[in-house]
Amino acid sequence: RRRARARSGTRPCGLHELEVRVSELGLGYTSDETVLFRYCAGACEAAARVYDLGLRRLRQRRRVRRERVRAQPCCRPTAYEDEVSFLDVHSRYHTVHELSARECACV
């Protein structure tokens, strides 16, 4: 398990894409249209800031313990796609905003 984790960690945080049918997304739209779903994935190990190092140390020393703190960056979208539209099986059009990621970063 650890090895698999380490291997997946070798790819740095970046944009990935998948062709998906709108219905597959489970958002309540019944449409057979296919959209390009872009998401963020990858490792952020190299992106640790002095902030994270300091926070980790304070957590180890139990100076910070009540709150949920995250002492390592996370691969997340920093910008989203404007909008995408599709026709559903009832011949109604829908427009969805910010469905896909446009940029990713370790934040």
Binding site: T34, V84, L87, S91, Y93
Partner: protein
């Protein structure tokens, strides 16, 4: 070759394949097409239809997206009603096409002619889709592409044409108008309207595009 070749459409394929859905997919997977399609859909699909803005967004879509995407969506061939309804819905007709009442076609033509672009697009259509009985395809110079381009060129103007219904047999397209109340111009009105509704050149061009049989007949532009 499969043993089914030459027997027409494979039933297993024709039941499942929907060329209009494939065309929407191709558009969604292209950044530029997806963006401009979403743009006209979100504008034309608003609760209160602003036809002027909807038409403008449609014109931008057909002007700025290559015809390999736009014609595919507009002229896809269909074997089931869902597909034909999708094809009819391409331009969001409830906002861009239909209206409370149907104007007289000659009156609509006059309105179109006050706009220099609408006027010239309509003239292109009459020239490029003119039924030519000497030609095999019934189109001037056997040029399907020119006719399809002129048809698409009128979308987003006062003469916006569309499929009149989602029936599968016999494609009929028309602008939103009728020849009622033409007075002594009835004959001219019918002649004008038939250029859309009963035009063998336009019909052949749309069918050939849908079947993919137009490739050898005209140069691609």
């Amino acid at each position: 070759a499969s043993i089914f070749s030459g027997t027409g459409a494979d039933p297993a394929v024709s039941a499942k394949s929907n060329h209009c859905l494939d065309a929407a997919k191709a558009c969604n997977l292209n950044e530029n097409c997806k963006k401009l399609r979403s743009s006209y859909i979100s504008i034309c699909n608003r609760e209160i239809c602003n036809r002027r803005k909807c038409h403008k967004a449609l014109r931008q879509f057909f002007d700025r997206v290559p015809s390999e995407y736009t014609y595919r969506m507009l002229f896809c061939s269909c074997q089931d009603p869902g597909c034909a309804e999708r094809r009819r819905q391409t331009i969001l007709p409830s906002c861009s096409y239909e209206d409370k009442d149907k104007p007289n076609c000659l009156d609509l033509r006059s309105v179109c002619r006050t706009d220099h672009l609408c006027r010239s697009r309509l003239a292109d259509f009459h020239a490029n889709c003119r039924a030519s009985y000497q030609m095999l395809t019934r189109c001037p110079a056997d040029n399907y592409q020119a006719c399809l381009g002129s048809y698409a060129g009128m979308i987003g103007f006062d003469m916006t044409p569309n499929y009149v219904d989602s029936s599968l047999t016999g494609i009929v397209v028309s602008p939103w108008c009728s020849c009622r109340g033409s007075g002594n111009m009835e004959e001219e009105c019918e002649k004008f309207l038939r250029d859309f509704t009963e035009n063998p050149c336009l019909r052949n061009a749309i069918e050939a595009f849908g079947n993919g049989t137009d490739v050898n007949l005209s140069p691609k532009n």
